[in-house]
């Protein structure tokens, strides 16, 4: 496989255009013998999560939900309520840090931390650009699917530590849901991995680059790819506990699920984890089926749109835009669809998604073997 033909027209940003050039430059950056570059490498996705959840996550979701329900949304703080999130953050920072008396102090405090670490760890293998990836593992996709398990333990710690029946039931429902939906999600992603023939996220993305833009994406490369794409999208909604699968935090039944007792910054950390995993699943679906950091625009004759819009810096733009698009669809669904019942949820997972995932797995295998 050729790993170098990246566009030469892109902006040369100090460190060059080669594959993983930015990450490697950062890893080599040692100040006073301390591996400072490694810390910066890990801090970049963290800053990204914080910035995106503050702007698009909180403010965007409130505005989008408002427009969908024919309301105005936040309008008071700043023009169009732009500063609303900053006001919210100030309020959250000032809030008293309450730990219920009968709660299990240690687990109550540790729970949100484990939860956030679980959702943040997957960012290590997300290629944010052709030149930037946290860790170019050859088991990247498998790592991204598997590391969600840590989030599950965090949810259980938070739910049990709260010493509240609603919290515990919310946690148990949430975990049962995440663990069940991992199966169709993993099989659907396996279809994409089969088409690529690798689990390395950077290679999966590279295989989808070409001068015809979107036509090289795996979604359009095989006639069955839409099925695993759809299955993974539905299953990922359930994995991040978004509507219509937000049973763990069903307000009318369980107050707020496993984070009923949380307030102040701990609540903010739980929300940060939720927005973190929302972008994570959106990025994974864009990488596996929609070409990750590749530009979707095709070259039309001498009008080389694809060449102009490809490169490390454009890559950052494209993957974030693709991720934001799927987050928008997640928000859209949240305000459109009613919530499923628990038995319907399990029915959908085991009797609809899993069999169809197997069907798409076999069909993709046949396609990959017999159609060159």
């Amino acid at each position: 496989m050729i790993l170098t033909p990246l566009s030469h027209i892109s902006m040369p940003l100090l460190m060059g255009n080669n594959l993983n050039a930015w990450s490697e430059a950062l890893v080599g950056f040692n100040l006073f013998g301390l591996p400072l570059g490694l810390v910066i490498l890990a801090a970049i996705p963290l800053v990204f999560i914080a910035l995106y959840s503050l702007t698009y996550g909180v403010y965007g979701e409130r505005k989008i939900s408002a427009f969908m329900q024919d309301r105005l949304g936040p309008m008071e703080v700043g023009k169009w309520g732009i500063l609303q999130t900053i006001a919210d953050i100030l309020k959250l920072l000032q809030k008293e840090d309450i730990v219920p008396t009968s709660a299990d102090k240690f687990l109550f405090v540790v729970g949100p931390g484990i939860l956030f670490v679980g959702s943040f760890l997957a960012y290590a293998v997300l290629p944010f650009s052709s030149a930037f990836i946290g860790a170019s593992l050859n088991v990247g996709l498998f790592f991204a699917i598997g590391i969600v398990a840590i989030e599950v333990v965090g949810i259980l710690a938070a739910g049990w530590g709260s010493n509240n029946k609603w919290s515990l039931y919310g946690a148990v429902r949430s975990v049962a849901q995440i663990v069940s939906y991992e199966i169709p999600a993993a099989i659907a992603l396996l279809c994409g991995a089969m088409m690529a023939g690798t689990l390395d996220m950077q290679k999966i993305t590279l295989l989808q680059s070409g001068s015809y833009g979107f036509a090289h994406f795996f979604l359009f490369q095989s006639p069955i790819a839409w099925l695993p794409f759809l299955i993974y999208f539905i299953a990922s909604l359930a994995e991040v506990n978004r509507a219509p699968f937000d049973i763990p935090e069903a307000e009318s039944e369980l107050v707020a699920g496993y984070f009923t007792e949380y307030s102040g910054m701990k609540f903010a950390v739980i929300f940060l984890a939720e927005y973190g995993s929302m972008f994570m699943v959106s990025a994974i679906i864009s990488i596996v089926f929609l070409g990750g950091w590749n530009s979707p625009l095709p070259n039309i004759g001498s009008f080389a749109l694809n060449d102009w819009t490809n490169g490390p810096v454009w890559g950052v733009f494209w993957i974030i835009m693709k991720g934001f698009f799927f987050i928008f669809v997640q928000m859209w669904l949240r305000w459109t669809l009613p919530r499923l019942r628990v038995d319907q949820l399990m029915y959908l997972c085991w009797k609809v998604l899993t069999p169809f995932a197997f069907v798409s797995f076999v069909l993709t295998a046949i396609w990959v073997i017999f159609v060159p």
């Binding site: 299990d104 498998f142 598997g146 840590i150 049990w160």
Partner: protein
């Protein structure tokens, strides 16, 4: 990345593994023991990475944290009165315990000193290990692989059979 960085990271993970494993054994609270297992499994996965076995490391997280630990936590959380049970973590039989401890440590040290080097593999690892694992499972080890899958299928059917309820009983309640 310098060698020193690797060494420091290795010792951090080794410490996490050892201390959390000790906590699992010595804690009197069964919930804390169960949650502490998370760090043990995670630390062991990190140690696998240091042996360049990334695939096994991720599998370790998927199977042990995602499967076994969650099952364990569910079991602990839904067992009535488990928090009131006094766990015994005292030393009960000092003399036989000391003998067994000395025996195990002696055997380990004996192996450590008599084995020359750590038996480096004849062929060096290069390239992706995942593909090799896939090829080997589907060619060399296809019979064990199929046997394991049949065993797991039988276990799955058995679990579904045990968990299903009888229709008349359900209507009564």
């Amino acid at each position: 990345m310098s060698n020193l960085t690797y060494t420091v990271i290795f010792y951090i993970f080794a410490a996490i593994t050892v201390f959390s494993a000790a906590f699992v054994v010595f804690s009197r609270n069964v919930i804390y023991s169960a949650f502490s297992l998370l760090f043990t499994f995670f630390g062991v996965a990190a140690l696998y990475v240091f042996l360049s076995a990334d695939f096994i490391a991720v599998t370790q997280v998927v199977v042990y944290v995602g499967g076994i630990l969650v099952l364990l936590l569910f079991g602990v959380m839904f067992t009535k009165g488990i928090m009131n049970t006094e766990l015994k973590s005292d030393v009960l039989h000092i003399v036989p315990g000391t003998f067994i401890l000395a025996g195990i440590i002696g055997a380990l040290l004996y192996t450590f000193y008599t084995t020359h080097g750590w038996m480096p593999s004849a062929t060096q690892l290069h390239g992706s290990i995942v593909e090799r694992i896939g090829f080997e499972t589907m060619s060399h080890y296809v019979l064990p692989f199929e046997m394991v899958s049949i065993l797991l299928l039988a276990a799955l059917i058995g679990a579904a059979f045990l968990a299903r309820f009888d229709k008349p009983d359900n209507n009564k309640s």
